[in-house]
Symmetry: C2
Subunit: 397 residues, 2 copies
């Protein structure tokens, strides 16, 4: 019999997907160039040339078995070695091959990391605003995701609320910096405070509390800022990475878990991920894609358009009187809506062909997300629409 639990999920449609479908339908009616679709976080810049060149070269020159044959279940060994080496060079954390587990994107990475450090019934804590798929990623392991309310002052961590929610059954903290949806990169001060706190709690509870650090936006940072690398601050860190955004390869499903060499059981965590893999049908990302990204570890697509878009949007939002925190990275911005119910605000925006995502599903009310991975030319036109929208619908502000 069909699993009724999964069947019942079909009725609940994600707000983001609903809006994206609305945008597509609107585009068919009025021309897609006239729809200012800020709904989806789908990278808009082309793949880094070196990636396509490498794929072509591999398929021209390599023997079939080493290119297309089974990878070892933890990933291609030479690819893992190169990933470890690149992280060591870039961040000074002494990763070795054994600390790297290749995955199908960050979703695959989190699926393994979460199962590795929890058992059914355990709790995992994350901080609002947060990527709503985390609910599926964590709860479907059998553990429970709890969400700490947002610190709306700056979208860093609400430590008071966090402390009130901590207890002995919390086995992992899931963080995402730079953050989807806020665009905020946690300050070093926040990370030091968080990791000091967790070390104290590890002592108090007499068990490890792992940080699962979801870092697909690591390479998209603004104002020449350095994004602190979490594993440098906390030993029990499982870094989950995806090449989706840095190389514009989301559909190729390629990423990794990097286990801090100083984590408890660091030498066997990747092997445990391999065991987990057998039970969830993961069994490695595509071998050719693994081997191609291994040649692209020190490069990215041209990501500059995201900062350019951010500056245009941020300046216009400020000019129009929005409350908004300047993003430190990603391709998201998260302003406060101009009325209490962000759903009503975003509904009104659609009249101006602006597709904005209300913040409710990100775990905080009254804000909206704009995913500005779209052409700058369109951003410019959308800001005229935004101005008209605001001045027409909210004239007395």
């Amino acid at each position: 019999m069909i699993n009724q639990d999964f069947k019942s999920m079909l009725s609940g449609k994600s707000k983001i997907r609903e809006l994206s479908e609305f945008a597509t339908a609107l585009g068919e009616k009025i021309g897609y160039e006239n729809v200012f679709d800020y709904s989806l976080g789908n990278p808009s810049v082309p793949v880094a040339d070196i990636y396509n060149e490498t794929i072509i070269k591999l398929h021209r020159e390599m023997e079939s078995m080493p290119l297309h044959g089974y990878s070892p279940s933890l990933g291609n060994t030479e690819v893992r070695r190169k990933v470890a080496e690149s992280l060591k060079k870039r961040f000074g954390v002494p990763y070795e091959t054994k600390h790297i587990f290749m995955t199908s994107g960050a979703a695959g990475a989190i699926a393994h990391a979460a199962r590795c450090v929890t058992k059914p019934g355990d709790e995992v804590i994350t901080f609002a605003p947060f990527f709503p798929e985390y609910m599926q990623y964590i709860n479907r392991t059998g553990a429970n995701l709890k969400v700490v309310p947002a610190n709306t002052e700056n979208f860093e961590i609400n430590f008071e609320a966090f402390d009130a929610m901590m207890h002995k059954n919390v086995q992992a903290i899931l963080i995402n910096t730079p953050n989807n949806p806020s665009g905020i990169a946690y300050s070093e001060q926040t990370i030091v405070r968080l990791t000091d706190y967790l070390r104290a709690k590890e002592k108090e509870y007499a068990h490890e509390i792992f940080i699962i650090s979801d870092e697909p936006y690591r390479e998209i940072c603004f104002d020449n800022r350095e994004i602190p690398y979490i594993a440098k601050y906390y030993d029990n860190t499982l870094t989950c990475y995806s090449f989706s955004k840095s190389l514009s390869l989301p559909g190729e499903r390629i990423g990794y878990v990097a286990v801090s060499p100083k984590a408890v059981d660091a030498d066997i965590i990747a092997v445990i991920c391999g065991q987990i893999s057998r039970g969830i049908g993961h069994n490695c990302p595509a071998s050719s894609v693994q081997q191609a990204v291994a040649e692209c570890l020190y490069t990215t697509s041209d990501l500059s358009v995201y900062e350019k878009n951010m500056n245009l949007i941020y300046d216009k939002l400020v000019e129009l009187g929005f409350e908004v925190i300047r993003p430190g990275g990603t391709f998201y911005i998260f302003p406060k809506a101009l009325e209490e119910d962000a759903n009503v605000f975003c509904d009104k925006a659609t009249k101006y062909n602006l597709i904005l995502v209300p913040s409710d599903s990100f775990g905080v009310k009254g804000y909206f997300r704009m995913a500005y991975c779209i052409d700058t030319e369109k951003v410019v036109r959308s800001l005229e629409a935004l101005e008209t929208f605001v001045k027409t619908e909210y004239p007395n502000r």
Copy 2:
């Protein structure tokens, strides 16, 4: 804290992997060309040319977003349409796009199919001899895999034992024909008897009993035989396929679930698979690989070597007096060992540089598996070693 359940799995090493590692170590000592390694089912023939040509063409000519962007969560729509069309043409089952869910290989396909039609605590039945990873694939969903003892007369189905094990809580039957490890393709008579039986049980129990049909060896069949297509015989069939063997692409992790158009809830099962995907971190096979196999749906690698190898090995086994069923397909053969304990038999064989896998982990005692996806030249030399082994160790037969 590290999940102790997964951690404890690290001590249990698979016999196949152990033997494969032994073969590699032996190869380093005496030269790999002198090791007759029949342990691993890793396709030995090169990828079909059209696959590599398509990948190169796609990476040269396509825009970045349609090639590397996110697929819809059920897979690239045009790829799904082409897969449905090819199955309809080949087997006469009227699949449409909505019945196809793209997966990372057969492992990914079974992970979704099993979760779709069971809930934790349900039972799934399979038939010995069987691929031992099924234990992980099924038991890690929360359901329980039960194994019907082998019909050692011909390695078709032991219906008496099956009937004795059936009860109301059995929600799915997992079959694999042509079969790993026996090489047997179930006869049409077996399939008719099985499906008639299941339809009667569906009525008796008043719920569906799905067949999960694992078909990665569908294209490797011998003696010009037609392999019956299960979904033609039974409506509630979820066909799990992988291109690993037909195109020699095991590392690229590409396959699908095809939902019989006549299955209960046929129109939503693929959508349910998409929901399942979110919780296990699957989120689609690589987009470029999906698009490349869609151009290879009516072709295979040159698979003739497997039949050539089978004939050589089968004839020699018969000549040497082994009890053995002639395989109908795959690249496996499953003879009876020459002494009661197949482990002892296979241990002795290693003295002759023959790496054979004892049958215990396949759910039947006293047999051994040879995976003859190796060069024919090596098969010929191995048969001399086999003869020496048999005549030396078992002189009085």
